[in-house]
Symmetry: C2
Subunit: 358 residues, 2 copies
DNA sequence: GGGCTGGATGACAGCGCTGTCACCATCGGC
DNA sequence: GCCGATGGTGACAGCGCTGTCATCCAGCCC
């Protein structure tokens, strides 16, 4: 059957198409009886408004773009990260009858500014959700700002500029994780920092320091190692920490990949996790549940963040609000198997402890 | 600056808008000189055709929908799978000036048929790319067929119906993997089957049998175990195989999760991989590169498959071809660290071999 | 009751593009 | 030199909707 148009509905309901339009768009100034009549006709004909016609006739694009760094060209450990954001953004779009355009792009490309510009010119989204780490790259942010398209940044790390953003409490939740470790009896809690370019990840270190302080613990420089977000760097840092004369009993890594590396380092040294060493990570990548033991970690509310960002953009079209300010959606701690209370024999090492091959 | 329209271009080039339209759509019957003039004007004004107007004016929707099973509600090990398909589909869409709509949905929902129907009515895509495992679920396939929207199925497992499909040579490449293992000197090659509902995964078993035969090896029932695609089932199956009196020297699992389980089982039994046991998987999930040792596996050309599917759909709009037949894009074997030649001391077990705690 | 206000509704003109068809040159064949 | 065929081009009517503005009818004030 040919698709029903607004004319068909108007005819069936005995009103003008304009009135149907009002009902569809939930505009005021329609009598209840009329509205009911129209709604009945809509149902009977299973009418769906034509997106293209709507967009053409009104300045509103009903299109949100989600721009993120494309990891598919190399490794894809962060695929879950992207999927979760998509899920959130899609959810907001679906309920508002908007469409979502996904735009993976590679920030290492020199021409990313031009590329984004072309995409924006082409798709003409009503708003843009910009994911981390693109959200804290001046080049990228500026290219988008230049187009004048409303934008919400996800986890921008710092509140630069007036752009609106949605973030999570990286620092606060990291402090909470540290306090949680302290509450298990740990006194020597180490931290492995992430790659310095990642602002949001850097905030986690600050949270760690806060947490130590709040728990009345000293932050010793010996218990802070540098990593670069990779599994290998986590393993190396973990090994260095565990081979100290007075090693920590808990290690908190700024991301899950490094935490997984720490678990491996511990295994190679014959240490039981969590019996002799507690390990915590951050991000809740899928690996966190597959690891053995499963990894206690911080779960970022990525989906909610992206959903909120899309909502802000959608609502912005109505009330022309200036679109600024930062929203915060709290992260949660996922307690799994890799953390536990300090045991009596914490200092005991397994037989394979010392001098293992790298 | 306000966005340039086709009128602006026509005026600048001194032709009618229809001629500009012809140039933009690469239609014939435009003199070269005219075409050049128009193209120059387009560049000067950096004109981009308005999608909505185009769609409204022509039956062609310039929209492809990618429908896949939404894993985000539970665990997300397959996020990479989705991302790779998206990448391929996006690539086809971008180069043809099409838009991509992603539609994750949960096949466990009772109302999935109605849901898909509503989505299709709403978005009106010109074609649908249906990913596995949805592509071999009759309920889902029928719901889409009922809408009359052109569809290409990805890895449908079997060639049911007349729908067009793009698949990979699961069976052939599995045979190749088996031959590869045999070529390393392995004579006792075990296989761990996947979940029976997954057609494409079932084909891998057939390939394994083919491969044994092609290598002149006997397929012994003792060397085939059942799994359910999960890590845990792989570990259990691996353990059973390795505790046989005459255990295999190579284990080929129908997917990577199970292969990872086998590696863990081997580690617990003190077996060195690949020194004493070769392990191969299938899918090339991101975990495959993070495992230690990294996993030899079969990489499905997901991105190419999705790209091809989208291309077929896009091209179908031009030449009204009946849209049927199955295309095949070959998978590749990724040789990594987990497989190696049979060593002299293959039968030697590590000290922790027997009777370890489960 | 006259004049007003404001809510409810409809007429109408596009939004920017494509499909159809008409038009005007050419051009080759007789 | 006349004809039909063909290539190149443009006029024009929508596609299905929304924004604007006009219209109409109640209800209200004095």
């Amino acid at each position: 059957m040919p698709r029903a148009t607004i004319n068909d509905v108007a005819e069936l309901a005995g009103v003008s198409i304009k009135t149907v339009s009002r009902v569809v768009n939930k505009e005021p100034n329609v009598r209840d009886a009329t509205r009911a009549k129209v709604e009945k006709a809509i149902t009977r004909l299973s009418y769906h408004p034509n997106m293209s016609a709507r967009n053409l006739a009104s300045p509103r694009a009903r299109l949100i773009a989600l721009i993120y760094h494309d990891t598919s060209s190399y490794d894809i450990p962060s695929a879950g990260y992207v999927i979760r954001m998509q899920t959130g953004a899609l959810s907001a779009c679906r309920s508002a009858d908007y469409r979502l355009v996904i735009y993976p792009c590679d920030f290492r490309t020199g021409s990313i500014g031009a590329e984004l510009n072309a995409m924006i010119e082409h798709a003409r989204p009503q708003g843009i959700v910009l994911a981390a780490p693109l959200s804290n790259m001046p080049r990228v942010v500026q290219a988008i700002v230049a187009t004048g398209t409303p934008m919400v940044r996800l986890s921008p790390g710092t509140q630069g500029g007036k752009q609106c953003s949605v973030a999570t409490n990286d620092r606060g939740i990291s402090a909470a994780m540290t306090r949680y470790l302290a509450s298990l009896g740990h006194r020597k809690i180490a931290f492995i920092k992430g790659h310095p370019s990642h602002k949001a990840v850097a905030n986690r270190y600050l949270g760690y320091v806060d947490g130590l302080q709040q728990s009345g613990l000293d932050s010793s420089e010996h218990f802070v190692e540098n990593g670069d977000n990779s599994f290998g760097s986590g393993e190396a840092a973990g090994r260095r920490l565990l081979l100290l004369k007075a090693p920590p009993t808990a290690i908190f890594a700024a991301n899950d990949d490094m935490a997984a590396g720490v678990i491996r380092a511990a295994a190679l040294l014959g240490l039981d996790v969590p019996g002799q060493l507690s390990v915590a990570g951050c991000d809740d990548i899928s690996l966190a549940r597959q690891l053995c033991p499963t990894l206690t970690t911080i779960r970022q509310p990525l989906s909610s963040m992206a959903e909120r960002a899309a909502q802000i953009l959608i609502r912005n079209a109505d009330d022309e609000s200036p679109l600024q300010g930062a929203e915060m959606i709290p992260a949660t701690i996922e307690i799994r198997e890799s953390t536990g209370p300090v045991s009596a024999n914490t200092r005991l090492r397994g037989s394979r402890a010392q001098g293992l091959p790298e």
